[in-house]
Symmetry: C2
Subunit: 271 residues, 2 copies
């Protein structure tokens, strides 16, 4: 299945930073000859997974990609609602928010939203970062059983930019995240950047991380705590909505912001 593998390697070249790619760029990045790349991308275009700009001859994601992406969300609307929550969070905090999910040992960024604050950590959708170096990634990992966490981190290729954790430190941090229900990244993703992250899952298996990043020298302690509180409120809302058992447990460490009184307004359509 080499050609199929190459095809997906080619597809993975596309990201928020590189929405369009020339044949030769793809050939370089996945180490195949330009002739093969030309045929491969041509086939993907014929199938509708890619579109080709008729004038520049460059490729970009196509219609088939759009429908498949839409289908990922499957039955739930967790992704949609999570994104709304995130947008609101960014609006109120002024800092950058990320919606992402776990891909092996990496955090895969799905959606970002820039806040108004001038100093920003810009990460494009499609970017992959070692999960353990991010707040969202840690929050997602902490939901997995211990052996799987170790397995995922073991398999992840070593990366000089983001070091691998010590077994001891890993254990402690995971325990802390599980107890509190949120994860912190203290300049671990990027120097000078602090981040807070939570993870929410729908009925079966699909988990997303919501995270918020800001400069360490930016908002003061009080403000940071407010952001964390807002993030946790969002987590509670989503957790309640999608029956995420973990979020019931987290009520202990931080009290649940609004104890459910009768008569919540339903904004979603009935099935």
């Amino acid at each position: 299945m080499k050609s199929v593998h190459n095809a997906m390697a080619a597809l993975r070249c596309f990201s928020g930073q590189t929405r369009e790619l020339a044949v030769s760029r793809v050939a370089d990045r996945i180490k195949i000859t330009p002739s093969s790349a030309s045929r491969l991308l041509g086939a993907l275009r014929d199938g509708g997974l890619l579109d080709q700009d008729p004038v520049t001859r460059r490729y970009r994601p196509g219609r088939l990609a759009l429908v498949l992406g839409g289908l990922y969300q499957a039955h739930t609307k967790l992704r949609d609602l999570a994104q709304s929550e995130l947008d609101a969070l960014v609006e109120r905090s002024g800092h950058t928010g990320y919606l992402s999910l776990l891909d092996g040992g990496d955090l895969l960024v799905i959606h970002t939203r820039q806040g108004g604050y001038p100093l920003r950590l810009v990460v494009e959708p499609g970017a992959r970062i070692p999960a353990w170096a991010t707040a969202g990634g840690k929050a997602l990992l902490a939901r997995l059983p211990d052996p799987e966490i170790r397995e995922r981190l073991r398999r992840a290729p070593r990366n000089s930019q983001w070091p691998t954790p010590s077994p001891r430190g890993l254990q402690d941090e995971i325990a802390r995240i599980r107890a509190r229900g949120h994860a912190l990244a203290e300049q671990e993703t990027f120097p000078g950047i602090r981040a807070v992250g939570i993870a929410v899952a729908d009925g079966e298996g699909r988990a997303f991380a919501l995270s918020l990043s800001f400069p360490v020298a930016g908002p003061d302690r009080k403000a940071q705590d407010r952001f964390l509180g807002m993030l946790r409120e969002a987590g509670h809302r989503l957790g309640d909505r999608f029956g995420d058992a973990a979020w019931q447990a987290y009520t202990a460490s931080h009290p649940k912001p609004r104890p459910p009184r009768g008569g919540r307004s339903e904004t979603m359509e009935a099935p």
Copy 2:
């Protein structure tokens, strides 16, 4: 590139109705042996384009599909805004709305939203319908140069359920749609169902159709005209926003609802 072609044929089996597929179902539908299908889907899973349910062994769109779908929207947010407009339309009319685009000679449904009205034409996202049998498809086709319209319809495989148009009728209908700026489908998609559709394009090439369907016996003439008016208003807003020249021209037939007074509020972030 046969295996890549098969891969995309397999991917095209997924739709709103069939979000999960078993190996054998895919094998049947794209006419390959189960062994090949097993290897093929396995490769797509390894690449992240598909996920496999560990217990049922069935496949569904994966993370890579999600990012690629997100990238389709590219620089513009036409899709997002069009969807918002559509949702509002459905809310106000109570009937079903569709967001779709042209795929060869077919209309490819991207997003649907059910209204409250009990009698509904249910079309799942991912569905393909001969464009000429739909209001949205006609609106999209009418934007193309004449030879290309004929070419696309010529290439489309014959389909007993939806007949091909006569050259004469095609010519007239296209002219009518271009003059008015919207298309109608009078029980052409489905018996007893009437639909109205418009098409909007962003700066370069990407065009979406917004359409609304309702039973012929449902809303009265007045109400239908209101729906059409609302749809056209949405078209004007989107057309203005994305510089769609066609929508300036359409002002003649139906007067533009709100002539642009100074000081439009900018909701999009600056680049």
